[in-house]
Point group: C2
Chain length 394, copies 2
């Protein structure tokens, strides 16, 4: 049982008991659409979260971390706004983030520390609290078990569409299109479950599930100031085996992460890069990350150009002690370089170009010096990426 | 005395005695124009060089390193081709690079180890030796003291124009437009002098001069497989004070590096970023490099958008232990962020946008935690960069 959909609606919300959702238009975003969302549990819900590792963490990240600790991992819900990240806003920004939890707590009859808060959008601007506060009160009035989609819409910024996925007893949504790099949570993601687990159990499952999913994707190497993945359990459903739960959660996050990549800013090709034959996992990760963030590799992918020399050159500057004469590269199932150099025959070129015209494909770089490996999902660097980010605020 | 010019011609070549130059069309490049160049000293010249630190170093880099050592720093010249990097070409590529020095040596009556070799262009393709060899012989016949410009043209690839600069007793040229990052030599650069110095003295001066010039620029963070800066002294001119020589050489490389940046692929804005108030120079460098290679910062610069939050966010993910609440940022002389957050007044926004519309300007980020600093020159990430690199081979 499971799926992903742009219209998960009724079907999806029946899966997870004990939660209500809302999304409203508070007027924070310049564009049309919902920009304030709420998830509320009927009773205090066990929760776990991972946050950005950026030192310039946004005010809502700092407040949420504190509240999660203060409430000992049992929270009533989360209030989220899009259109403004409340990052680089100093002490006043912290006051605003706290105020958001206070307004929500008051309207819900809960304690402020039982509410987390999350924001996404432009950095360095104060939140328009005169819109945010009435928005929160309006959202509380709209809360209903059937409105998960409204919530999923309210967290979007430059995203092309809503991103929802579900598995047995699990329902999740995600947002994010740029400023995405494999260093902790990456983007805003919210997952609810009714399988009963303690905060500690949720935390363990979440960290394990993130490792190969959200921690292994990159759009542009820029880790956001606001990243957060929140997992809440109402405990209102049947018990589930811990291992199975981690598997289901990993599958859910994998789907959401893939949706995120497919809808990344200006993305036309999602490439899964596997670096194999490394001496250590950290070596493999370092090589993979350097290649995945190389502008020259990313533009070659945009141009569907099997310019494999750029991949080897990026590996060479990763800082990992590799032997260039051993490197072997495959594009899809087409071998394009062996012993660090070109193949004699040129028949690979057309085949590799065909693979690269697909919306999703695999690159495999074999370092041939050990048995460790790592993977990362990345994408092309296109004209649209430049357009979106050069015009973001105008 | 000194200058930079697109037409340095007669004036420049009178400055440095003891060298002859040539550039010819061998047919290696698809495009029109010279693609094979030679610099030859009348007698063995003292030489020093810095090379790429990329582990996937190209065949000519490996051969040149070996020859410089074997000849104990006294060489007759260098043979350079554009249009093909002879990188990732395995053992056969090494044979080709060696063969280039042998053909040149034979035509000049020198030993192969007295010749260095340098290549630039596409990676992963064998050199068309059937064009390269006659090209070298033709270049030897064209050698003349007045043909420095022909040489400077022969080393270009996607460069918009020839890049030459001179100072007292020094003459230099450079090439490069993409795959440029601050990690050793960066791009191909050749400097000749007639001031008499030993290879050791040249080496010391060159490394010192590179530190604040070629090692502090980045177009796209991609360190090339072929980078090389070569400095040769004929000793045919008057003696010069060592310190003065290093100063002149630094000024020369600074000019060449700036020309390189201005003509970088798709570059419209050259930004000098100074990170000050750091606890250590390495911290300052790390923060500067992370900002300079951030796609979000670079697209904001393309859009002339004073979206300073992206600068602070990039600093935050640099791995340096900084205090976000202390950060202070200036765009030109306009203060745009203080204590890690927005200024109350919005009058800075228009002023900062005006600064950002200039072809060159300064960003100053003050970490306010110490007295160390570093600078890096970088540029915008534009549509042209994507076009050039997505279509490079087609």
């Amino acid at each position: 049982l499971g799926g992903t959909a742009n219209a998960a609606s009724g079907k999806s919300t029946r899966l997870v008991r004990g939660f209500r959702f809302a999304g409203v238009k508070a007027g924070i975003k310049k564009k049309e659409g919902f920009d304030l969302g709420l998830i509320v549990a009927r009773a205090p819900a066990a929760a776990a979260a991972v946050f950005t590792q950026n030192r310039v963490a946004a005010a809502p990240v700092l407040v949420s971390k504190k509240h999660l600790k203060k409430s000992k991992g049992f929270i009533r819900g989360v209030v989220v706004n899009s259109g403004n990240a409340n990052a680089c806003t100093g002490k006043k920004g912290l006051d605003d983030a706290r105020q958001m939890t206070e307004v929500a707590a008051e309207a819900l009859g809960a304690k402020p520390q039982e509410l987390l808060v999350s924001s996404t959008g432009v950095i360095g601007h104060r939140l328009p609290m005169e819109m945010v506060e009435p928005g929160i009160r309006a959202a509380v009035k709209r809360l209903a078990p059937s409105r998960f989609e409204d919530f999923a819409k309210a967290i979007l910024t430059t995203d092309r569409s809503m991103k929802i996925a579900w598995r047995s007893q699990l329902l999740g949504c995600t947002k994010g299109a740029g400023m995405i790099a494999p260093n902790m949570a990456t983007t805003l993601t919210f997952v609810v479950t009714d399988a009963p687990f303690s905060p500690k159990e949720l935390d363990r499952a979440l960290r394990q599930a993130c490792d190969d999913t959200y921690n292994a994707i990159t759009v542009d190497g820029d880790t956001s100031t606001n990243d957060m993945i929140l997992l809440m359990s109402s405990g209102a459903g049947p018990a589930m085996d811990k291992k199975r739960f981690t598997r289901e959660l990993t599958a859910l996050l994998d789907r959401l992460a893939l949706k995120l990549m497919r809808e990344g800013e200006g993305v036309h090709h999602v490439v899964t890069l596997r670096v194999i034959g490394a001496s250590s996992t950290s070596d493999a990760k370092r090589v993979a990350k350097t290649i995945a963030n190389s502008p020259l590799v990313k533009t070659a992918i945009a141009g569907q150009d099997p310019n494999w020399g750029r991949v080897l050159a990026a590996a060479g500057r990763s800082g990992v002690d590799l032997d260039p004469a051993r490197l072997e590269l495959k594009i899809g199932d087409v071998l394009v370089a062996k012993q660090g150099s070109a193949l004699a025959s040129r028949s690979w070129e057309k085949k590799a170009h065909q693979v690269m015209s697909r919306p999703a494909y695999e690159l495999v770089l074999d370092l041939r010096q050990g048995r460790k490996e790592a993977h990362v999902r990345f994408c092309d660097l296109s004209h649209e990426y430049v357009s979106i980010n050069a015009d973001y605020r105008s």
